[in-house]
């Protein structure tokens, strides 16, 4: 897909954008879905109309899908399986003194 916004308009199909919605202050933006739009401003407006019409959010991000570099399913074994037997990476091997709060 071309990264030139004008190229998206000349085709019948508009480029794909990924939408991230922050539900409320203090929470992270979470991926909500995707949509088509000819440029960033309209992507934001379309995201507002598609993903926040039931009060789902207070903030929106849109990212052109082609700008996202994603891990490949083929790499799943080498990327993620090695973490499976590293239980010591979880902070569960410490004795917490009784008078320490908020841990």
């Amino acid at each position: 897909m071309s990264t030139d916004p004008a190229a998206g308009m000349s085709e019948r199909g508009w480029p794909l954008w990924e939408v991230f919605v922050r539900a409320k202050r203090g929470l992270s933006h979470v991926h909500a879905g995707s949509l088509h739009a000819p440029d960033a401003q309209l992507a934001l407006q379309n995201a507002r109309d598609l993903y926040t019409r039931r009060q789902e959010g207070v903030s929106l991000w849109v990212v052109r899908a082609s700008d996202i570099t994603a891990s490949s399913p083929d790499e799943r074994d080498s990327f993620f399986d090695p973490a499976a037997d590293k239980v010591y990476r979880h902070p569960t091997f410490y004795e917490v003194p009784e008078d320490v709060e908020y841990l």
């Binding site: 308009m9 949509l35 088509h36 440029d39 309209l42 407006q45 379309n46 507002r48 598609l50 019409r53």
Partner: protein, 284 residues
């Protein structure tokens, strides 16, 4: 278009109002006539919103993309929400106790007070964005002022609606800029749309007995006072869109606020009302 023809069902109270004259009419309390005038003013606003919502709803499944179907459907739903609240308030003010459905579904063409702009049939997408830019900008200026209405209910309705109108303006302006400053074809079509819409916009800014009475009482605002700010805002959008503001039109639509409508209105109402009228009082 004749302005002398009087349909028996035309809303008659406003015709008896003489600016500056005492509003006591024999057989009718001052309260009653003032209430009817206030209700007539609100009906103009509500009918504009309802009829344009009906036109915008036609875009669902016909827009350039499904995303735009949703965008225009959302605008239509905002307008229906405004109309519902305005109808309900009108029913309280005119003393008839009519509900929103009575106004929307059971009045005939001559009783609708909307301008011709909103009832005109759907054209191409560019034409719709130009119409929406004019209408939404008008509504935004209007509701900004009505938020200070002496009628607390209307002030509340306007304060909510002004946020909706602001988004409608943004959306329409976004598109007008892209179409005007886009391809040769989109530019030409947007320019044609501006010429098409020109004869219809004057009606939004024409004062009549009802709006003058509403402005006098502090309920409403003079339509003519909205023209300059609306034109300035639209001029700025057109500049960015590389579009020429159209010359003064050679004719102007008129009569909508008196219930005199164009041919398209009857067909629009037939589609809007036929279920409610075919099944009176049906609920689900």
């Amino acid at each position: 278009m004749s302005s002398t023809y009087e349909h028996p069902r035309t809303f008659s109270a406003p015709l008896r109002y003489v600016p500056g004259a005492p509003m006591n009419t024999p057989g009718r309390s001052r309260q009653g006539l003032e209430g009817e005038l206030a209700a007539a003013y609100l009906l103009g606003l509500a009918d504009d919103a309802l009829v344009y919502a009906q036109r915008l709803g036609e875009w669902v499944s016909r827009s350039p993309q499904v995303e735009e179907d949703m965008a225009l459907g959302n605008v239509a739903l905002d307008l229906i929400g405004q109309a519902r609240r305005l109808y309900t308030r009108a029913g309280e003010l005119d003393g008839t106790g009519r509900c929103e459905d009575d106004y929307a579904m059971l009045r005939d063409e001559r009783e609708f007070r909307n301008v011709h702009l909103v009832e005109q049939p759907r054209g191409d997408f560019g034409r719709e964005m130009v119409r929406m830019l004019w209408f939404a900008t008008y509504q935004h200026e209007l509701y900004t002022r009505l938020a200070a209405s002496t009628d607390q209910t209307l002030a509340g309705i306007a304060a909510k609606a002004v946020k909706e109108a602001a988004y409608h303006v943004t959306h329409a302006a976004t598109w007008v800029v892209r179409l005007g400053d886009g391809t040769t074809e989109s530019h030409e079509r947007a320019q044609l749309a501006l010429w098409w819409v020109a004869p219809y916009v004057g009606e939004l800014f024409t004062d009549d007995e009802i709006s003058i009475a509403a402005a006098d009482s502090g309920l409403g605002t003079l339509p003519s006072a909205l023209l300059a700010p609306v034109r300035a805002r639209i001029g700025a959008v057109l500049g960015e869109a590389t579009l020429e503001p159209p010359a003064a039109p050679t004719w102007s639509s008129a009569g909508g606020r008196r219930g005199v409508h164009s041919e398209a209105m009857g067909y629009l109402l037939a589609e809007l009302q036929h279920v409610a009228r075919s099944h009176p009082g049906a609920t689900w």
